[in-house]
């Protein structure tokens, strides 16, 4: 530890608020070697010291956050990866994963992926991986999916949907066939968000078996998928549904396709007994 680092860490642990403040505000210029001791200071008795250490870590992250590459950034990332390891308190590992989500790249993926089956940290691990751009983070989530418990599978599927991960679409479609309806609907939601045609056959969850909210998610997922691939058959089916907003969604989706067939499907809705549906059709055809 160089003398400047020692001085910095002493300032972070100082009883004087202003000394601590000045130290953590300037932490971006410190050597990355201070990161591990800052992790220890996060466990200090004094809440002001804990806070100063946490803020200092964030300041260091921000100082290397702008450029996606760089020698110091690489060194900082390695120090944070070390903080995610077993032996550090769960809260320190949590903060490390959150900080890594902002600067981590492919080098971070193995450390975060290892925690996807850790009951205490899997939520933070998927959060971290979800934010790390590139294929490696998605590949790690795909690889981990069979090994996580059923209760966590929907969270991983949500990450695929959020990332619009095309390479995970077949996995999501397979999940739709699960007898566990939470997994099946999560798979459907993710596939709907990804919005590309899968390579295999789609087996939709049994609608009648779903809860009311799951039915809402089922409908929304189909509509998102239809919006992405301009599937006129899905819109046609929704036009026949009694719910006003589903008819509106079908009309709005068809209007974007704007083919003669789409127009012919919308036109009868100009005479709908539902005023909102009529207005939506009028706007769509205007």
């Amino acid at each position: 530890m160089n003398p400047a680092s020692d001085k910095f860490l002493a300032d972070i642990g100082n009883h004087d608020v202003e000394v601590r403040y000045a130290a953590w505000r300037a932490a971006g210029s410190e050597d990355p070697e201070v990161i591990a001791p800052l992790g220890k200071l996060m466990g200090a008795d004094d809440p002001g010291v804990r806070n100063a250490a946490t803020q200092a870590l964030k300041t260091i992250v921000d100082s290397v956050g702008k450029q996606p590459v760089g020698e110091k950034r690489a060194a900082v990332i390695q120090q944070f990866i070390a903080l995610t390891a077993n032996g550090h308190p769960a809260w320190v590992r949590t903060i490390a994963l959150r900080d890594l989500s902002l600067i981590g790249g492919d080098e971070t993926v193995p450390a975060a992926a290892k925690l996807l089956t850790d009951a205490d940290l899997q939520e933070e691990a998927v959060f971290c991986l979800e934010r790390i751009p590139g294929d490696a983070s998605i590949a790690a989530l795909i690889a981990a999916y069979p090994h996580v418990g059923d209760s966590f599978k929907p969270r991983v599927l949500a990450a695929f949907g959020h990332r619009r991960a095309a390479q995970a679409v077949d996995l999501c479609v397979a999940a739709m066939a699960s007898s566990n309806l939470d997994i099946a609907i999560a798979g459907m939601k993710a596939a709907g968000r990804i919005g590309i045609k899968p390579s295999g056959e789609i087996k939709l969850p049994d609608y009648k078996s779903l809860s009311d909210w799951q039915k809402t998610e089922y409908d929304d997922s189909l509509l998102r998928y239809a919006d992405s691939v301009h599937d006129i058959h899905i819109y046609r089916a929704f036009l026949e549904r009694p719910e006003e907003h589903l008819q509106c969604a079908a009309i709005i989706g068809l209007a974007k396709i704007h083919t003669p067939e789409a127009v012919s499907l919308i036109s009868p809705k100009l005479k709908s007994p539902n005023r909102t549906v009529r207005i939506t059709a009028q706007k769509a055809l205007a």
Partner: protein, 448 residues
């Protein structure tokens, strides 16, 4: 919806008026002219988040039509329709109990908002939760077919804003954001005055606001039994329960409430965006500087100065804590519009205290002049649009644009660097970390 199954007397009158005047009757005739609307013509509201701000939207069963809150704006020429609060939801059952007593009758009570959204008796919802829930609940409400009044700021991230706009568009839902300043008479007068060139071309708008609190060191504790803390956190990252972080105190955490700029800024900058005709414009650069608390539980800016540069047309917006208050009107916060022929102050921007200078209030728009939309009140306008399916004054697209200003200002402040912004693609240019912070993965089952 049920209310469209029959032609009520009110609907008949509305249609007759529409046929003769070319507008819907409820836009021009005070509600008191009509008899009480048939039950099938009333809008049934569900309320999600009823601990603080949300109580102002409740419609008590007794006492007839009332304005839920005077600071929702309007010129006082209209009263709200006698619609009903039929369902209430809050993660804290003490809030539920109080709100149920206030409403009277027999509203349905929920602790899980998804059950309220499934409720077919609910036509539209008011969302007045802490900020970190706004976007996801609004999106889910649209998916469930509800029209939405969502409190400001509309969203916590840019990605959330995009999802809100997409959901409203996908389902053709009416979404009004609770930046009610645009419905305040003073803002209307200022807008008319400035848009008709009375202070010349405006190239700069400067906001001022007092500082945020720093907070003490209150120990974390066990959540009270009445509060479903996991539901309260929802999509936000887990932090231990602390009474000084929860309910109204969420405001002083960057990840949850974002401080004054996301609270009052969402009002003051909403009016600025409106007056500057910038609902479809965004800044090209954001430079936020300032100081967080030196100690204590909170991390939102105490002192802050954010400069937003806009192009085509070129103008600058400055958010400042404390900034330079107006010399013309005394108020704890507001904005000054600097034209090449003069300047004008609009104070507050969120409530009853909203005011502007006499020359604007007395100004008469000349024939052929610019007539800004004259809102009957943010709540009234929302109700009108539920019926007409028109776009409300503080529509979701405009609302998220205002939220983006708040979000980007905080982001630049937190990262302590200026960045370039593409207002079309909605991306930060040449800043990897800032760009990652435009979205936020959800937590558990709560994902966009």
């Amino acid at each position: 919806m049920r209310r469209n199954k029959k032609t009520s007397r009110r609907t008949f009158l509305s249609r007759t008026a529409a046929a003769t005047a070319g507008v819907y009757a409820f836009d021009i005739i005070p509600g008191s002219v009509f008899a009480q609307p048939a039950p099938s013509d009333r809008i049934n509201f569900g309320h999600i988040g009823i601990g603080g701000r949300g109580t102002g939207f409740l419609r008590p069963e007794s006492g007839g039509p009332t304005k839920p809150s005077p600071n929702l704006g309007g010129f006082g020429e209209r009263t709200l329709r006698p619609d009903r609060s039929v369902a209430l939801c809050d993660a804290d059952s003490t809030h539920l109990d109080k709100a149920a007593t206030r409403v009277g009758g027999h509203p349905k009570l929920y602790k899980d908002f998804r059950l309220l959204l499934e409720d077919k008796d609910v036509d539209a919802v008011f969302i007045a939760t802490p900020d970190h829930w706004h976007a996801l609940m609004a999106v889910m409400a649209c998916e469930a077919g509800k029209d939405v009044y969502v409190e400001k700021p509309a969203c916590l991230t840019v990605e959330e804003g995009q999802a809100m706009v997409a959901a409203a568009e996908r389902y053709g839902r009416v979404v009004q954001v609770g930046s009610q300043g645009r419905s305040q008479p003073a803002a209307y007068h200022a807008c008319a005055y400035i848009q008709n060139g009375q202070i010349g071309t405006v190239r700069k708008v400067t906001c001022w606001h007092y500082a945020s609190p720093a907070g003490d060191w209150t120990p974390d504790s066990t959540p009270p039994s009445a509060l479903d803390y996991d539901m309260w956190l929802g999509p936000e990252r887990y932090i231990p329960y602390n009474e000084k972080h929860t309910h109204r105190n969420f405001r002083w955490l960057l990840d949850f409430g974002g401080g004054q700029i996301r609270d009052r800024g969402a009002h003051i900058m909403s009016i600025a965006q409106w007056i500057m005709n910038a609902d479809n414009q965004g800044p090209i650069s954001i430079d936020g500087r300032g100081e967080p608390p030196h100690d204590g539980m909170y991390d939102t800016a105490v002192i802050m100065n954010v400069t937003y540069e806009f192009k085509n047309p070129d103008w600058t917006l400055v958010w400042a804590q404390p900034g330079q208050p107006s010399a013309e009107l005394k108020a704890p916060y507001g904005a000054i519009y600097w034209g090449d022929k003069g300047h004008l102050t609009v104070t507050y921007g969120d409530g009853q205290g909203t005011d502007t200078e006499p020359q604007a209030k007395e100004y008469q728009i000349p024939s052929g002049g610019v007539h800004p939309f004259r809102s009957p009140g943010n709540g009234e306008n929302f109700e009108d649009c539920i019926k007409s399916r028109e776009t409300p004054v503080m529509n979701v697209a405009a609302g998220v644009r205002v939220a983006y200003l708040c979000i980007l200002g905080n982001l630049s402040f937190a990262l302590r660097r200026k960045f370039e912004w593409d207002p079309v693609s909605l991306r930060v240019l040449n800043d990897d970390e800032a760009d990652r912070l435009l979205s936020r993965p959800g937590r558990g089952i709560w994902n966009l």
